[in-house]
């Protein structure tokens, strides 16, 4: 079948059809990205925390901008080459374009990877510490758990004596994890007491559904879940039927009245209904014998001494053990949020900082802050000449570059220019700069207010950053695939219908320019503002 108007223009629009189609698509894309930029504005104006200004590495962003602009030029050259019927030139220019897309994605992947491995923690007093957690080490080698995995130094340990599972919401992999860990530590998880319930209508006394001492297993929990759900559905049907009956009676007794006028008088007779109902078993308790220490990821547990709760509703009874968050390398200390809270309460920022937990408990933070205050005095004097003042970020944040400069000034490790260049892409070089620049720090669990990697969970800035750049990255991949198709599979079409191929390349090129156009805004907004 011949597709109409792919080479020659339609008379009414004056355009070939695919051009109309791509512009329709681009119009929808403008609205899509426009929506996300609006979201950015909303989030920034409404942020109740110090917005991370100019926080992303500029050099990779700048290179990516050059790469995209360069590829925009080469893609238009590729199209021009086709129009002039120069296949070899087309191949070269399109090849460069696709290669640029590859460079862009590699740089983006490095940027994302650095973020996902960088830890941030907000203390209970709103001071923020950033760095690298790493894994538990024995000498030079990482310690492995019973499954052979490395143990990240951010786990929460509970000396567990009792586990109460929710029979509907329990998470199977976690139950399996309890079982394997208990087995590994020679402990048993058994039913704490007989589970009794009325399981059939008309039953006089409760029957024993499960006997104390029965071992925990997924099958066992499934069996209780089945009994529980059957009872719930049975009871639900009775309650609904009873309520329906009450409504019928109420309507008969109050003719002509509206539902809302009689609703308060419509109630189920709970006592009369009780003998017909079955027992629901929503939770079931197991004892851990002997009590054993289980570890949990912070995201899975709401910890407390005595009783903690997991995300699936499992209640863990037991003593909360010391579970410090161990930074192998601290690379930033940030008091911006603490100062914001202090100012809101009318407290002097410096007083608030001096009273913070970090200042009171970390000689490193004290030393760094002393150095920082001296630096700020110098900066204030320099800026005063031009009637200017340091920014909030400069005043209250010590980033990794500041810590590196401090260590260098005090005789610490200096690294080569090549290593410094690498740092612009991969972040602080802990190995080269050593523990004197980025020291180890153990943060007690009770001081942890909120912790996350530099992921969308950390704050709304990273949420919108990953949304916009992620969506843009997908466009780069999509565009590169289409342009690669023309490059590697276009020869046949070039020989049979070169004008059609030129039109196709023009369409792909239009999309590619749009990808560049979006980045022209993404770069200053997310990286420089």
């Amino acid at each position: 079948m011949e597709i109409p108007y792919i080479v020659t223009p339609r008379k009414d629009t004056g355009l070939f059809n695919s051009k109309i189609a791509i512009w329709l698509f681009l119009a929808s894309e403008v609205m899509l990205f426009g929506g996300f930029f609006s979201a950015y504005v909303f989030l920034r104006l409404g942020a109740d925390y110090p917005w991370p200004e100019r926080t992303l590495p500029v050099l990779p962003g700048l290179i990516n901008t050059f790469v995209l602009i360069g590829s925009s030029v080469t893609v238009v050259f590729a199209w021009a080459s086709l129009k002039m019927r120069q296949w070899r030139k087309f191949q070269i220019f399109m090849g460069i374009t696709v290669f640029c897309a590859l460079i862009f994605m590699v740089l983006k992947a490095i940027e994302y990877n650095v973020k996902f491995h960088h830890q941030a923690v907000r203390l209970s007093d709103y001071s923020i510490m950033e760095g690298h957690l790493g894994f538990e080490m024995a000498g030079d080698k990482p310690v492995l758990d019973h499954k052979g995995n490395k143990i990240e130094e951010n786990l929460i340990y509970v000396e567990t004596s009792k586990l109460t599972f929710n029979t509907v919401r329990f998470h199977k992999p976690w139950v399996e994890e309890f079982l394997t860990e208990a087995e590994h530590k020679n402990s048993k998880i058994v039913l704490a007491a007989d589970v009794t319930a009325i399981t059939k209508e008309g039953q006089k006394a409760p029957e024993i559904v499960a006997k104390a001492g029965e071992a925990l297993s997924i099958e066992f929990l499934n069996r209780l879940q089945k009994i529980h759900l059957a009872a719930r559905s049975h009871n639900g049907a009775y309650r609904t039927a009873a309520l329906r009956g009450e409504w019928v009676k109420a309507h008969a007794a109050n003719p002509g009245k509206r539902d809302w006028q009689i609703a308060s008088g419509v109630n189920i007779d709970v006592k009369a209904l009780a003998p017909k109902l079955l027992d629901e078993i929503s939770t079931v308790a197991f004892k851990v014998d002997p009590p054993t220490s289980f570890d949990f990821h912070p995201r899975d547990i709401k910890e407390a001494d005595g009783q903690s709760t997991l995300r699936d509703g499992t209640v863990v009874d037991g003593k909360l053990e010391a579970s410090p968050m161990v930074f192998h390398h601290v690379d930033a200390i940030d008091f911006q949020y603490l100062v914001m809270k202090a100012v809101a309460k009318g407290i002097d920022p410096e007083v608030a900082i001096q009273n913070s937990w970090l200042m009171k408990n970390s000689p490193f933070v004290q030393q760094a802050w002393k150095w920082h205050l001296a630096e700020m005095d110098k900066l204030k004097k320099e800026l005063a000449v031009h009637h200017r003042e340091p920014t909030h970020k400069e005043l209250y944040r010590l980033g990794w570059k500041d810590l590196a400069r401090m260590a260098e000034e005090e005789g610490g490790a200096k690294i080569s220019g090549a290593d410094q260049f690498k740092e612009e892409f991969f972040g602080p070089n802990y190995e080269a700069r050593g523990a004197e620049t980025f020291p180890e720090f153990s943060l007690p669990r009770e001081q942890v207010g909120f912790a996350a990697k530099f992921s969308p969970a950390w704050n709304t800035y990273y949420a919108i950053y990953f949304t916009i750049t992620g969506l843009h990255g997908l466009h780069v991949i999509g565009g590169a695939l289409v342009l690669s198709y023309y490059l590697f599979f276009g020869k046949k079409m070039y020989l049979t219908n070169p004008e059609w191929l030129a039109n196709r390349v023009e369409i792909g090129g239009l999309f590619w320019h749009f990808v560049d156009l979006v980045w022209i805004f993404v770069f200053p907004i997310l990286y420089l503002m």
């Binding site: 119009a27 104006l45 500029v58 129009k83 239009l510 907004i525």
Partner: protein, 113 residues
């Protein structure tokens, strides 16, 4: 649009010039944000940096759209299509200005320091 080989040859020169301007514009944007002598307004990021940064970005985007995407000499249908998309974005994004009246708006972090 440039369709004949002669016209295209001429256009290639324009593309190179536009590419150069885009590179320079990018360098200028970075200098405004990172190099103190180019820092307009107060020290650090403030509304003037924002206005200047976005103005440069808009000029760059206009160049890409008009020269690379040939919007400077397109058919009417495309202006209508794309123009309506842009209008929708501007009018809807303009609604974000209402956020200034939002009760959760925090003056402390928008005082321009």
């Amino acid at each position: 649009m440039a369709d004949s080989p002669e016209e295209i040859k001429k256009a290639v020169r324009t593309y190179l010039i536009v590419g150069g301007i885009l590179f320079l514009g990018t360098i200028l944007t970075v200098l405004v944000a990172t190099y103190p002598p180019f820092d307009v307004g107060a020290h650090g990021f403030d509304k003037w940096d924002c206005i200047l940064g976005l103005t440069i970005a808009t000029i760059k985007a206009t160049l890409v759209a008009s020269i690379f995407m040939h919007l400077n000499h397109e058919k009417k249908a495309i202006y209508w299509l794309f123009g309506s998309g842009i209008c929708a974005v501007i009018s809807l994004a303009g609604l974000t200005a209402l956020a200034l009246g939002d009760p959760i708006f925090d003056k402390f972090f928008y005082s321009g320091h």
